[in-house]
């Protein structure tokens, strides 16, 4: 059976366009149907995926612009498989959520809203599936467009400033990346007969180390802003406060992971010397993100920002794993990217429910005491909280365990300092939980249990968290062969190692 990735890729956009043309009340249904189809496809891919193979599967490879060496190449492997699944799950959940989510501007033009959601999903899937650098850049930059409109039109207070800030920040990164991408294709082609942006060609060509260095930094800037990582997160507080919550859940759950994925897909394989060269710098940025994000999450009282800063910290862990530059770190990073998306989206959903019960306030000082009247919501929130703080037994813990182990093997000091982030995470996550559902009832709080409709969004996500917690191997075994072949081993190790370099556990004498 051939499963065409292109079908899955273009369904959301196609149905979004259809929604624009058909009567307004059909738009949400079409969008929901589209995300459900994508989810079905994604699950099929995950089940059908050959775990033992490291190479790309379901490859589509067509020449697109022959003169420039750009091809329309898509494929799935261990790196993007679970991010595609995550995208499918969260888009379905958040689209469903959008159908009954009622902010001030919700009535404005639902057709356009769902069109942008569809466009956003297509661009995210495109960036994840692309096997050509130019294609990747196109989709990566395209992601910004729908989110620009979604925030600018349907956002909360101060949305205009927030949008401007977001755009300026990401545009700077994107332009750097565009330049670097062009340079990569052209410079790598030196000594060969023709320019090509296809990943498969780039992997065989090599760049000089000083060239690699500046290309690496340009890509890193774009990725770090998108995540965001400290200190590139200036747009985050305003952006997070302004975005409509379902959109924010997608942004925080998926888009940040696309950036992390970029490091694994592009930076490590194509700039191996630079990755090695900047390893310590990247690890320190990650470490700073972990500590800074955690401390900020611990002191702010705005619920969205608690989650926002906690995301900075979590993304810090993912970057840490990627730049451990070994298999354990990379495996942990991929798993953690999936886990974090799966946890942060329901967390934003719970935040919406909590805020609705606190008279619309998003400040934890106005919340509290709803556990009595909303035991089911509280229980589900507790599971999400424990997963957020990466309690052992959750899949998040397995991710962090592998990440820290990977870093421990290369830079022990950094791993030990980073582990304090685990304690801080417990502090901020539990603080959010206790302040928002326990203690005395807040002044404006009207407690009530969540509805069946809310349950339709929240319960499947929580069940998914529990399922992956019981069997993280399900994800790990699918990504392992790709990660092992991805290897960006240090040149020294390359000389010594026999089997997949740099990836076996060294036993000390």
């Amino acid at each position: 059976m051939t499963l065409h990735l292109s079908i899955m890729l273009w369904i959301p956009l196609a149905l979004g366009v259809a929604g624009l043309l058909l009567p307004a009340k059909l738009a949400p249904k079409l969008a929901l149907g589209g995300t459900l189809l994508v989810l079905g496809y994604a699950i099929t891919y995950v089940v059908d995926f050959q775990s033992s193979a490291g190479a790309l599967q379901y490859v589509t490879d067509e020449t697109w612009i022959a003169e420039l060496g750009i091809s329309y190449a898509l494929g799935l492997d261990g790196l993007n498989l679970f991010l595609v699944l995550l995208t499918a799950i969260l888009w379905f959940a958040c689209t469903l959520w959008s159908t009954f989510w009622t902010p001030e501007h919700a009535a404005d033009n639902p057709r356009l809203y769902y069109f942008h959601l569809g466009l956003a999903q297509t661009s995210v899937l495109g960036a994840l599936l692309a096997q050509d650098l130019a294609l990747f850049v196109v989709f990566f930059d395209l992601m910004l467009v729908p989110f620009f409109f979604l925030t600018g039109i349907w956002g909360g207070a101060r949305r205009v400033q927030a949008t401007m800030k977001l755009v300026i920040y990401t545009l700077v990164g994107s332009l750097l990346m565009l330049t670097a991408a062009v340079a990569t294709g052209v410079l790598a082609a030196e000594g060969t007969d023709k320019v090509s942006f296809a990943f498969s060609d780039l992997a065989e060509r090599s760049l000089g180390s000083s060239t690699q260095n500046w290309l690496f930094l340009a890509f890193a800037a774009a990725f770090l802003v998108k995540m965001p990582a400290f200190p590139f997160h200036g747009w985050m507080p305003d952006g997070y406060k302004a975005m409509p919550l379902p959109v924010l859940a997608l942004f925080s759950g998926v888009l940040s992971k696309v950036a992390a994925y970029g490091f694994l897909r592009i930076s490590l394989p194509f700039f191996p010397d630079a990755s090695e060269h900047f390893q310590t710098l990247m690890l320190l940025i990650a470490l700073a993100s972990i500590l800074y994000g955690s401390v900020m999450a611990f002191t702010t009282t705005h619920v969205r920002l608690i989650l926002g800063y906690s995301s900075i910290a979590q993304l810090g862990f993912i970057v840490l794993g990627i730049f451990a530059l070994n298999a354990q770190g990379a495996q942990g990073a991929i798993l953690q990217a999936f886990n974090h998306g799966l946890v942060v989206a329901p967390a934003f959903f719970v935040v919406a429910l909590l805020s609705a019960r606190a008279g619309g306030s998003e400040d934890i000082r106005d919340m509290g005491g709803i556990a009595t009247r909303a035991p089911v919501l509280t229980t589900l929130f507790l599971v999400v909280t424990f997963a957020t703080l990466a309690m052992p037994g959750s899949s998040n813990f397995v991710g962090e365990f592998l990440i820290l182990l990977g870093v421990f093997e290369t830079k022990m000091t950094i791993a030990i300092i980073a582990s304090s982030g685990v304690v801080l995470a417990a502090a901020y996550a539990l603080r959010l939980f206790i302040r928002s559902v326990h203690n005395r009832t807040g002044p404006r709080v009207e407690a009530s249990e969540m509805s069946m409709r809310d349950g339709l969004v929240l319960v499947p996500l929580v069940l998914a968290i529990i399922a992956i917690a019981l069997y993280p191997q399900f994800a790990l075994q699918r990504s392992e062969p790709t990660v092992t072949s991805l290897s960006a081993p240090p040149p020294a190790a390359q000389a010594e190692a026999v089997v997949p370099p740099g990836f076996e556990i060294e036993r000390a004498p």
Binding site: I168, L284, A371, L382, P392, L404, S419, F503
Partner: protein, 670 residues
């Protein structure tokens, strides 16, 4: 699947199933039925534990270490974590104690928690706790151990914060959870240090090759073991990570009996015993454990003498007793430490249950200052308290006597500086006698308080307005606070059954292991410690007789002193307090450990947070890094403004931090 594996999985499975049944059926289960479901699950779990024991004993001694694997959990990139259990005499010993005592505490809670509006939730939590604890002791590799370890911490958090409308309870809960996470991190890092050399996370595989992987006192092994100890100290409330335990008394009393006396806090003792092949190769780390255990037993003993909250007195005594166990297993007296773990579980659960009964009679009031003269009103509770107290004080023939003295015998027998620990152990035993009977005399002797007189006439005191005894804050009676009705052992069969059984076990439990006479525990545990040189040691004959006599004398002397101060000469305690005011303040403030942690950890973190929040984020990130001219202009003007308004010192701080960062970078890069 062999029968050993099957029964081990069942032991673990029943509490989990019980929790799910209670939680999912919460709305459909009427009256006391959630408690029956949960208690039934526990009884089945205990029965399975017994069946595990029988089928394990059916195997030859050399085959009594069974690994039961369910599926691959995280088996990738050199990591070999499976969902696996290790069933051996040590873990079977632990599941018997845990499941057995837990079942009794469930029975007790059926009545004790009745009328609490969180009744169903309570039993779901309680089942979840037992599941976690069983997972912890049955874990077959480091990852599963850490999972059980953290689940236990989470369950403890939920139960401490059970009355979540009380700010005191939620604060105590978060404190316990965070200190426990510190312990988890210790375990994780310790695991890394060991895994680095062994290349396996499985216990049996690790222990098998340990002598080839490590030289004696290898720095990595010592570091790993000390980090494991951090985990053990956090869970077992050893200094300086003990401050959560006294606060944990905010939870319902059965919780204190179950988690903060009989089971969870003994996890550290189990951990060291489980890891004994590592600790024997890292004597330095083992010595650290022994010394900290010894310090804890003394410090906690002194605090218990000054504490006035009934449950906190028992909590400090728990800390102190666990100090003995930690000292024992660190010094190689494994069987003795585990024996004390078992007897302590019996008598300490009994003491907490009795305390719960009297607290119920006081309508939730826990202060010893307000109690007195309950002897006549509560004879059954009094009897149980005295039996538990005598065992705790180490008076023969009660169980605590045999187990505590065996620990000290074996430690004294090692000679050298261990004599210091030996002497300190007896000093601690003296303190134990004093504080235990101070508590009993103050609560049960003397003139009866109004609540006691009311009870003698047949009424249990119920206040009109419910207030948190700790803060005086009026309770939110909606839910999430102790129920309006209170239940005492004299009136409730289920409480009587649980306490009676424990009292019986407290009296006879010591007979399992009497020096030179019976060796049940030693023999049973032998296969788990077959490669240990320290396990085989026998105390020399002379020390045995001497130790048994001195143990009795010291315990009786402590009780006698308590009698003199709190019964014979009323007012003497005030006079002593007056004369040594400084010392008293020091002890009442529990050696200022809370303040120390607050000053060194909590405040700097908060200061950093508010600095980041108010200055760094606003000026640096938003000011300097927002792209475009406006950002630069704004940053420039804000810098000028900041300089004028005294923000200069923050910039100075920033500069220093930046330089430190650069230096740090080069250090790491080099």
């Amino acid at each position: 699947m062999t029968s050993v594996e099957l029964f081990a999985w069942l032991t673990l499975g029943f509490p989990l199933a019980g929790m799910l049944a209670v939680a999912l059926g919460a709305r459909k289960l009427p009256g006391r039925s959630p408690a029956y479901v949960a208690t039934g699950a526990m009884a089945l779990s205990f029965a399975s534990a017994v069946a595990t024991l029988i089928s394990l004993q059916g195997l030859g001694e050399e085959h009594r270490q069974v690994r039961a694997v369910a599926w691959d959990y995280a088996k990738t990139a050199g990591v070999d974590a499976q969902l696996s259990l290790l069933v051996d005499p040590l873990s079977v010993f632990m599941i018997l104690v845990v499941a057995g005592v837990s079942t009794l505490i469930h029975v007790y809670s059926i009545a004790y928690l009745d009328s609490d509006r969180g009744y169903t939730r309570f039993f779901a939590y309680l089942n979840f706790f037992v599941f976690s604890m069983l997972l912890l002791v049955l874990a077959g590799n480091f990852v599963m151990l850490i999972v059980g370890w953290a689940f236990v911490g989470a369950a403890s958090y939920m139960l401490i914060s059970f009355w979540y409308r009380r700010t005191t309870a939620t604060n105590a809960g978060i404190k316990a959870f965070i200190i426990n996470v510190v312990g988890d991190v210790g375990l994780v890092l310790g695991t890394y240090f060991i895994f680095r050399h062994t290349g396996s996370l499985d216990f049996l595989a690790t222990f098998e090759g340990i002598k080839e992987d490590f030289a004696s006192n290898d720095p990595d092994l010592v570091a790993g073991c000390i980090l494991l100890l951090v985990g053990a100290f956090a869970k077992s409330a050893q200094v300086p990570l003990h401050t959560w335990l006294p606060d944990a008394m905010e939870g319902p009393t059965p919780v204190s009996a179950l988690i903060h006396a009989a089971t969870m806090v003994t996890a550290g003792v189990y951990l060291i015993a489980r890891m004994h092949p590592l600790f024997e190769l890292a004597p330095t780390a083992a010595d650290v454990g022994a010394v900290i255990g010894c310090l804890t037993l003394l410090i906690a003993g002194t605090i218990a003498i000054a504490a006035t909250d009934l449950k906190r007195v028992i909590a400090y005594s728990t800390m102190s007793q666990i100090g003995y166990m930690i000292m024992a297993v660190s010094a190689g007296a494994y069987a003795a430490g585990l024996f004390h773990l078992m007897t302590h579980a019996f008598f300490k659960a009994l003491l907490f249950m009795a305390a719960g009964s009297i607290i119920a009679a006081m309508a939730g009031q826990q202060s010893l200052d307000k109690m007195g003269g309950f002897k006549k009103a509560m004879p059954f509770t009094y009897g149980c308290m005295v039996i538990g107290g005598l065992a705790l004080a180490g008076i023969p023939p009660f169980s605590g006597f045999f187990s505590k003295d065996e620990i000290l015998l074996l430690i004294g027998d090692r000679g050298g500086w261990y004599w210091g620990l030996y002497v300190a152990g007896y000093a601690g035993a003296f303190l134990t006698g004093v504080y235990t009977f101070r508590m009993i005399f103050r609560a049960f002797w003397g003139a009866p308080v109004p609540e006691a007189l009311e009870l003698e006439e047949g009424h249990i005191h119920h206040p009109e307005v419910h207030a948190n005894p700790a803060t005086g804050e009026v309770e939110d009676t909606d839910v999430g606070f102790p129920g309006p009705e209170h239940h005492i052992a004299e009136r409730e069969t289920s409480m009587k059954v649980a306490m009676g059984t424990l009292a019986f076990l407290t009296i006879v439990g010591g007979l399992l292991q009497i020096p030179k006479v019976t060796h049940v525990i030693d023999r049973f545990l032998e296969p788990s410690f077959h490669e240990s040189a320290l396990f085989e040691r026998e105390p020399s004959g002379g020390l045995i007789g001497f130790g048994l006599i001195i143990g009795t004398v010291v315990g009786l002397a402590g009780i006698g002193l308590a009698y003199v101060i709190w019964v014979k000469n009323p007012g003497m305690s005030e006079r002593i307090r007056e004369r040594s005011r400084g010392l008293h303040t020091f002890l009442v403030n529990t050696w200022y450990f809370d303040e120390l942690i607050d000053f060194t950890v909590v405040r700097p973190a908060q200061w950093l947070g508010s600095f980041a929040q108010q200055t760094f984020e606003r000026v640096f990130v938003n000011g300097l890094l927002v792209g475009g001219a406006t950002g630069i202009v704004r940053a420039g003007s804000s810098a000028v403004r900041a300089a004028q308004t005294g923000f200069l010192r923050y910039y100075a701080a920033l500069l220093v931090a930046g330089m430190a960062g650069v230096i740090f970078y080069f250090l790491l890069a080099s």
